[in-house]
Symmetry: C2
Subunit: 286 residues, 2 copies
Amino acid sequence: MNYLEKLKFSADSFGSIVCMGMDPVLEDIPLDRGPAGQRIFDFYAAILERMHKEKVYPAAVKPNYAFYAQYGFEGLDALYRLVRIYHAAGFPVILDVKRGDIGKTAEAYARESFEFFDADAVTLSPYMGLDSISPFMKNYPDRGYYILNKTSNKSSGDIQDVDAGGEPLFLHVSKKIVEWHRPGLGAVVGATYPAQLDAVSRIFVDSGKEVPLLIPGVGTQGGDVADVVKVLALGGDVRLHRINSSSAINFAYKKYPGMNFAEAAVMAIGELNDVIEKCISHETNK
Amino acid sequence: MNYLEKLKFSADSFGSIVCMGMDPVLEDIPLDRGPAGQRIFDFYAAILERMHKEKVYPAAVKPNYAFYAQYGFEGLDALYRLVRIYHAAGFPVILDVKRGDIGKTAEAYARESFEFFDADAVTLSPYMGLDSISPFMKNYPDRGYYILNKTSNKSSGDIQDVDAGGEPLFLHVSKKIVEWHRPGLGAVVGATYPAQLDAVSRIFVDSGKEVPLLIPGVGTQGGDVADVVKVLALGGDVRLHRINSSSAINFAYKKYPGMNFAEAAVMAIGELNDVIEKCISHETNK
């Protein structure tokens, strides 16, 4: 199965297009026992167990490397083990590493993500151009590679919105993604900029190529699910795309007092699945 | 001592403005014994020992994270230990991580580089804008932060050379670096594009701000030292800048048959120091 097939298959099996970000912050993990790495592992293992109990699932997970690396080796050891158990449970694992380096170095990074961590997909930065991307695609043709395109953060415009010959730079990047296209090449586009998400998506739909979108920014960052679904309804197979939510799922227990953290997280996944499904049927029945 | 003082001090103490890249490739390390991590550690420890024996030094080292991470935990363990011994020997350690992520995530990456690995400086990608850079500067004000500006690789132009309102994007990034400036904020500019290096450098010199340059691309990548020194002579304190060479130093033994790898590496450092010094006196005596 290549990565596009994996995306479709997991959307079908899990009845979802949600991606659960896995961004551990020790202070927010309500487990007292054991060293940092063990608490991180136990936290996300409990959420996985609860998913099976409730039969409520996301259709991908996205651990962000930074949140593990900040705890040194024990954090990365937790990441290593978590990738394996989520992988074994059938979830596409998107390792959010945002790598971007010259050719030989990119080869080494690809080895790290795809061989050592055994991820299904990675996130990559486009700033250094094609030769920082191609070793990932060439050496691991069945994986996924999401290029940062228009990101969800406040200062994303500093570089991405620069006027590049009458269009913002991020649209130039979208066109490069079409130009560089291979199956599995996708784009990261934030839900916090719906007009820009729409513009990017039209470029991909018009190209006739399958470009899976990874859409962060709903939940804590404030992006609106209805806006996102309107864009996904523009064309193509909606099962290729993933709407990501991290802290609003991970730490949902803060919103539901008295509820166990794993129960709360899975309830938040279920709620997001439901909202997305409603928005999709609203678009379909228009 | 803040990072700028560290750069000046180390240039004076070691009589150099060379940065030795430390990019281990197991197949090129002529040590048979022990596991990967140990061989990597032993290799660079032997080069450090040889530096002391010959009293020939670079004035910074730059391990690239990818080359360690590709070997998993034992690679990163070697990196951890190497940062410490080079640090203890007085070298500014530039951790080449090319991080770029949103605010909270950038905080986690800064903790990894500056607390866990205890690096003096990092490399950062500008694509996500100021809020992906500022946590490094704000939380660790005495360190160094090199922003990718015009990189040395072949496809760097895919994004960096895009016409952004009459100037290439990379010059827009140079101006952003001036705008975002704090002591320690620097730029990565490749030696392989001397005209672009010149243009970037003029922006920094004209701004009147001290922007340390990290210049990769001499040696194996083909950049010319004389071109680089001509640019450094434009103005400002030359001791703030570093000319990086990685594989041409690391694996110099391939060029000198019969010579021990550590001897060859230190000879290559000495030769690069000499060439730079000659070019500097040529510029000074013009």
